[in-house]
Amino acid sequence: MSAAELAVLLARVADGDAAAFQAFYGRTSPKLFGIILRILPERPEAEDVLQEVYVTLWRKAATFDPARASPITWVATIARNRAIDRLRARPVGRHAPVEEAYDLADDGPAPDAGLALSQEAQRLHAALATLEPRHAAAIRACYFEGVTYDELALREGVPVGTLKSWVRRGLIRMRGALQGEAA
């Protein structure tokens, strides 16, 4: 389903159209549930957050601005933020060990849905590939697992300042690569 079609559905949701809401849920919930599960691997908790996200979407659909983000980016961002907030609200020390973070770096794109990687995903992967592998892995661990700089620094055995520098330098380099500038 195209971004334009999703945006139309969202506009109808904003008008209180329950059928459009159900259709929107059908189209987007597997993606959002996947995102949430990587941050909160325990299914009951992930289901709880997914429910929260869609109740929020129902109420806030009118605030979606197609000029600022694509519909899927908008809802995925809400889902990630909710999942991370839930993660932050519980005690520390319940995260995957560092080896798994490295595995993530080698995962590559998921083979699901039979979809070819979009052009922008390919460009982003190319940009990530220009980084030190350890720096790229740190960015992926933050993004996919929702770990904090502090936790990741502990896992990596480096000072927090060093870890932040890896990630931020990496992100700026990625941006440069995506913009076609010399990074």
């Binding site: 597997p30 429910q51 109740v55 009118a62 992100l171 941006r175």
Partner: protein, 253 residues
């Protein structure tokens, strides 16, 4: 707040840009995220910077395998937002859709909650229909109140249920003057059960509606009230068929 230049991990990186990328990436602590959320509300430059980083990172989501959630999640969402997905939405018209009018009454959620509680102690207005048995003594323990809100969370009206008397009252909102042939119907949803009708209602000033006590028996805080717009005489199917204009969870008075 000013930090030493190297605390952002990179020479020349502004504090705003560092905070924006941290928030978009999700790497901040709970306190840092709360601070960033506040800044998002008040600082357009920060909002734009966060949006740029989110857009840059979002293609990473292609790497995440999709996972179909269990059906129970949708059922819980549907129960939360509206009693039942509408198969054929009815064109919205009439006084009950005049949200502006209802909002103009200036009743916020807190005021409505107080109003709902006050409804319980009002002198009983004439019942819309005579109860089939002598009124029992009021039983305050059984009283439940709800603030009903529209689909976007805006409070519309307050309701108070008195299971002991077998009646429901609404905060005065407006005189009904909608088109003929449509009436509001009150529903209650308990857990994941389908909506159960409490009958056709007349949302008029101070009116008390008689409702068979059996229908109110056993209602607990957390059950959800909903109002839909139905043909005269109520839904022909036993389930809501028209637009749902308001919902709200019951709580103890």
């Amino acid at each position: 707040m000013s930090l030493p230049p190297d605390s952002h991990g990179l020479e020349g990186l502004t504090a705003l840009e560092a905070e924006a990328m941290d928030f978009a990436l999700g790497a901040g602590s709970r306190a840092e995220r709360k601070a960033a959320e506040l800044r998002l509300l008040s600082d357009p430059a920060f909002r734009d910077a966060v949006a740029r980083w989110q857009a840059l990172l979002s293609p990473l989501d292609h790497d995440t395998p999709e996972q179909a959630p269990p059906a129970a999640v949708w059922q819980a969402i549907a129960a939360d937002v509206t009693p039942a997905p509408l198969k054929a939405p009815v064109k919205a018209e009439g006084w009950w859709h005049n949200i502006g009018l209802w909002r103009a009454l200036g009743l916020g959620g807190t005021a409505l909650a107080g109003l709902a509680a006050a409804l319980l102690v009002l002198p009983a207005a004439p019942l819309a229909q005579a109860p089939t048995e002598a009124p029992a003594a009021p039983t305050p323990a059984a009283a439940l109140v709800a603030t009903l809100v529209d689909g976007e969370g805006r409070p519309l009206l307050a309701a108070a249920l008195d299971a002991g008397r077998g009646e429901v009252r609404f905060a005065p909102v407006a005189a009904p003057d909608g088109p003929a042939g449509r009436v509001p119907e009150l529903w209650v949803i308990e857990g994941n059960n389908p909506p159960r009708s409490l009958g056709v209602i007349d949302i008029a000033a101070g009116a008390a509606h008689a409702i068979p006590r059996a229908r109110l028996a056993g209602l607990k805080p957390g059950a959800v009230l909903a109002i839909s717009i139905e043909p005269v005489g109520g839904s022909p199917t036993g389930a809501p068929t028209g637009p749902v204009i308001a919902t709200g969870a019951l709580s103890a008075a």
